[in-house]
Subunit: 149 residues, 2 copies
């Protein structure tokens, strides 16, 4: 079966529909945080006739996923569109290529082992975000003579 452990996602007023499965599958396959519009384009390419997808549905599905803590929404610097990625259970951070958006994990989270102090007593840290930006080897090599940005 192609069910994987995706099963436990659905339930309690959270219906399993073809559109949601498709979007989830795209997020699962992607090594890169994607935008709603990118997901929409992939849907149209992969399943041109099986189902008429609407962009608004993609947004609604992503929002539903976010509410159920299945995906994380984020912005890359210089971009104004939201990107979505699957919420992985492991605590990990990535370096993101500014060209192809590939994510490469970094060795360890510097905040896991403590050692970072906030300069105000009583500040209650509930979360953090670490993002490294740069150019992955492939994009560097391909565009190696365009030194701009």
């Amino acid at each position: 079966m192609k069910e994987k452990q995706t099963e436990n996602i659905w339930g309690r007023g959270f219906k399993r529909t073809k559109q949601r499965e498709e979007v989830y599958g795209i997020l699962e396959k992607s090594a890169v945080p994607v935008t709603a519009q990118e997901i929409y384009k992939i849907l149209l390419l992969e399943k041109p006739k099986e189902c008429q997808y609407a962009l608004s549905t993609v947004y609604r599905v992503l929002n539903a996923f976010e509410e159920h803590h299945l995906v994380k929404k984020s912005f890359l610097p210089g971009e104004d569109m939201a990107r979505y990625e699957l919420e992985r259970n492991i605590h990990e951070h990535y370096a993101v290529c500014l060209v192809c958006h590939k994510r490469v994990p970094i060795s360890k989270c510097p905040f896991e082992s403590g050692g970072i102090q906030v300069a105000e007593d009583g500040f209650d840290i509930t979360g953090h975000r670490i993002e490294l930006y740069g150019y992955c080897r492939a994009c560097r090599q391909r565009d190696n003579r365009t030194g701009d940005r």
Copy 2:
């Protein structure tokens, strides 16, 4: 004089205007990354008659500042509006209160002293962002019985 070291900002086709000074002043006074619309409201409150400000001007000023690397644009998780803050010359990171947006510096940048490895050779890191989120002491105390979020 109220000139401060703001002087060296202007020049080379970058004109000093009242609107730009006002916006810069607001950014300078604010301990919090602000949105364009917040700046606009502050302008209307502070100088109701001296000058007719346009929201689009605020955006243009902020974009100009960004191009000249005077301000940094960023998004807070769960927010879709851009926030702007002065680009401080010192390399520093902050913990941001999700309620009042106050920023509290953290002790040191964990990436300054190396030690973080990217799991791909040849990945060229050009920048990073670290953001800690949580609730500052004041907001915690004020809203201490609303345990939601």
